[in-house]
């Protein structure tokens, strides 16, 4: 299937994770221009190393949810706002609800929900100028079915899903739509570490394996394309059937 894209500039938040790098490669293959955000010099280096064969066809910029001003700076650096937003950004905080630290909890939600809301707000306003835009939020199957210790992660993901869904509801009439993708166990980064630490997690998945980062990237590419325009304000699970079984 040949995918078509109305826009060109793609802001990829959380751009140094393996899935984001896969998405960026696919996008450049389609002739689009990604801007990948990084939180640390290590992340920046990872992006530049991984994508060096595409030199000159992508940009990088600093953005860190723990530094709210970095979101404002990011948008002031972009001459034109993005046509697309792909949001992989997410901080880590694994704790049982009953043993959580109140200060850390508050900070986690400020960073991963409130600051993300500012990212979405700025992207939505930039897209509204062009009356065109598409947002894909990478949530998690854990948003719906969280394991012990994932309560705060799930809560932040669910709150963020609601923000993206609302953009799709409020702005679709102006050409701006959104989709949330909920991958299950993905064999990379945080997901890979989780699989390693929790025996049997993947075995419970009906397809009998973890999701590959490239599979998530292909799905994101499709959801960004014009072909997927009717998917709006919705959460789509990509978990190999995990959440359908007892």
């Amino acid at each position: 299937m040949k995918l078509e894209f109305k826009g060109n500039r793609v802001l990829i938040a959380g751009g140094s994770c393996e899935m984001a790098l896969c998405v960026a490669g696919l996008l450049m293959g389609e002739g689009l221009h990604p801007l990948l955000t990084w939180r640390s010099e290590q992340g920046r280096g990872k992006i530049e190393d991984s994508l060096k064969q595409f030199e000159g066809r992508f940009d990088t910029a600093h953005m860190d949810f723990s530094i709210p001003e970095s979101v404002e700076r990011l948008f002031s650096q972009m001459e034109e706002g993005p046509d697309y937003l792909v949001d992989f950004a997410q901080g880590d905080y694994e704790s049982l609800v009953g043993s959580a630290d109140a200060v850390l909890t508050s900070r986690y939600f400020t960073e991963n929900v409130s600051t993300r809301a500012d990212l979405i707000r700025r992207a939505a306003r930039a897209m509204l100028k062009k009356r065109q835009g598409r947002m894909v939020f990478i949530s998690s199957a854990a948003a719906w079915r969280s394991n012990p210790g994932q309560g705060f992660y799930a809560a932040a993901k669910l709150a963020s899903e609601a923000l993206y869904r609302s953009v799709g509801v409020e702005m679709a009439g102006r050409g701006i739509t959104s989709v949330t993708l909920r991958p299950g166990y993905v064999d990379s980064g945080r997901g890979g570490r989780y699989i390693e630490a929790h025996d049997g997690a993947v075995a419970r998945t009906p397809i009998g394996r973890a999701i590959a980062p490239g599979e998530v990237a292909q799905a994101v590419l499709f959801f960004l394309s014009d072909s997927a325009a009717a998917f709006n304000a919705v959460e789509i699970c990509m978990d190999g059937g995990l959440t359908a079984v007892k």
């Binding site: 306003r125 509204l128 409020e170 102006r174």
Partner: protein, 124 residues
């Protein structure tokens, strides 16, 4: 083009209406039927035209009713409006107080006052 002309152009583009429908005395919501999404688009358009930061809460008098909650007599309500919305003058505050029963009070001239005030703050 002057401030009114620019605002009128934004309104006619966003709301798909004729320029003759817009005067400084026109109610933005009551007369022109602007909805939330239209106002959001208007903010972005005004920001782009005038290069001033637009605060949606201020320019659209969004917190007007809550700021008047519990206001007593002796000019307290008017003073609250002047404090909350520094771009509104005393005469306009009086008009607003006499007009609350009719629905959303926002007029095109309030948008003009806001833009002038912001431009002044920017030293333009």
């Amino acid at each position: 083009m002057d401030i009114f002309g620019e605002i009128r152009e934004s309104l006619t583009e966003i709301l798909d209406i004729e320029a003759e429908q817009v005067t400084p005395e026109t109610y933005v919501i009551r007369d022109l039927g602007a909805e939330s999404i239209d106002l959001l688009e208007l903010s972005i358009s005004l920001n782009s035209r005038f290069k001033v930061e637009i605060n949606d809460e201020e320019i659209y008098l969004k917190s007007l009713r809550s700021c008047l909650n519990g206001a007593g007599a002796n000019g307290d309500a008017g003073n609250r409006i002047l404090r909350q919305f520094p771009f509104i003058n005393g005469k306009r505050a009086g008009e607003i107080l006499g007009d609350l029963e009719g629905g959303p009070v926002l007029k095109v001239k309030d948008l003009m006052s806001y833009v002038s005030w912001r431009a002044g703050k920017n030293g333009c």
